[in-house]
């Protein structure tokens, strides 16, 4: 398969993830859609690394995975903290940052 297919698929996945972030209102689902966007970026990185014939892009993809794992840990910690304070898990209700 040509590299084009992978890149177009990656941009389609990225657009779906961005659409999900714009549509959905639950913070957990928004984190899931962020994962979609990060993985679309990973797919593009690995595809371009194959296109160039160089493995540096794969290292970049692994670093993106690490950053995504950190983001998930902090985001889910925030969600648990919000839930423990009996605040509504809805980003429209939570638009003010002060507790």
């Amino acid at each position: 398969m040509n590299i084009e297919w992978y890149v177009v698929l990656s941009s389609l996945l990225f657009a779906i993830g961005a659409m999900g972030i714009l549509i959905r209102r639950s913070p957990i689902v928004i984190l899931l859609c962020l994962e979609l966007m990060l993985n679309a970026g990973n797919l593009a990185l690995v595809a371009f690394s194959r296109m160039v014939g160089n493995q540096d892009g794969q290292i970049f993809a692994i670093v993106v995975m690490v950053v995504a794992a950190c983001e998930v840990v902090v985001g889910l910690g925030l969600i648990v903290a919000i839930f423990r304070r009996r605040l509504p898990l809805d980003i429209d209700e939570l638009r003010e940052l002060r507790g």
């Binding site: 084009e4 698929l9 659409m19 714009l22 639950s26 689902v29 979609l36 493995q55």
Partner: protein, 200 residues
């Protein structure tokens, strides 16, 4: 064979992504994301990057998704309200998504990268296997590797600080004074640093 695998994995990835966006229940969304991640791992294998595919399955579909499942089970799957804060958001948001895809496609088409239309150069047998990636990580990319480990440590500490509190600041103060401290201790005033952080 390669094309069959590509289209099967692409359909799986797209279906998983649409499932994440469309599922009402966040638990089903997490399951759809697992399907998506496995399909992406197949795509990574097709791109001859075995280590990234293995890390995708083990780290993402294994560890991170278990974290999601636990948090969704803890928080519970509340139903989202159908109330629209921004008028027309349900129509504008898909429009934005389509516009983003069109923009990205134009960027891909207009990039004038001739190699995009090829399958990439022929690579050696060890391309993207764990030995090659490990050599790169520990020699050329040692400093990013160590920075990533520090970032993971910081994220773990941050998650414990964020989610490890037994009470919120206001509740923690009253709760600890009523449980532990005698009335004379309350008249002295509870030290600020002791109440929320000390109990965590």
């Amino acid at each position: 064979m390669e094309q069959v695998l590509f289209f099967a994995a692409a359909i799986g990835a797209l279906g998983g992504a649409i499932g994440v966006v469309a599922m009402r229940n966040p638990f089903y969304g997490v399951l759809a994301l697992i399907v998506h991640l496995f399909s992406l791992a197949v795509l990574f294998l097709l791109l001859t990057s075995a280590f990234v595919a293995a890390a995708q399955v083990v780290v993402y579909a294994g560890a991170v998704m278990v974290l999601y499942v636990f948090v969704v089970a803890y928080v519970g799957s509340g139903t989202e309200s159908a109330w629209e804060p921004i008028p027309g958001q349900r129509f504008l948001a898909p429009l934005m998504g389509v516009a983003l895809f069109v923009e990205l496609s134009i960027a891909v088409i207009a990039s004038s990268l001739l190699a995009l239309g090829s399958r990439g150069p022929d690579v050696k047998a060890g391309f993207g296997d764990p030995a090659a990636i490990g050599n790169l990580l520990l020699e050329r990319f040692l400093i990013p590797f160590e920075a990533a480990s520090i970032l993971l440590l910081l994220a773990a500490v941050g998650a414990v600080v964020l989610a490890g509190q037994r009470h919120g600041p206001g509740e923690g103060l009253t709760g600890s004074s009523s449980e532990h401290s005698a009335p004379e201790a309350r008249s002295e005033g509870v030290p600020v640093g002791q109440s929320p952080g000390g109990s965590a």
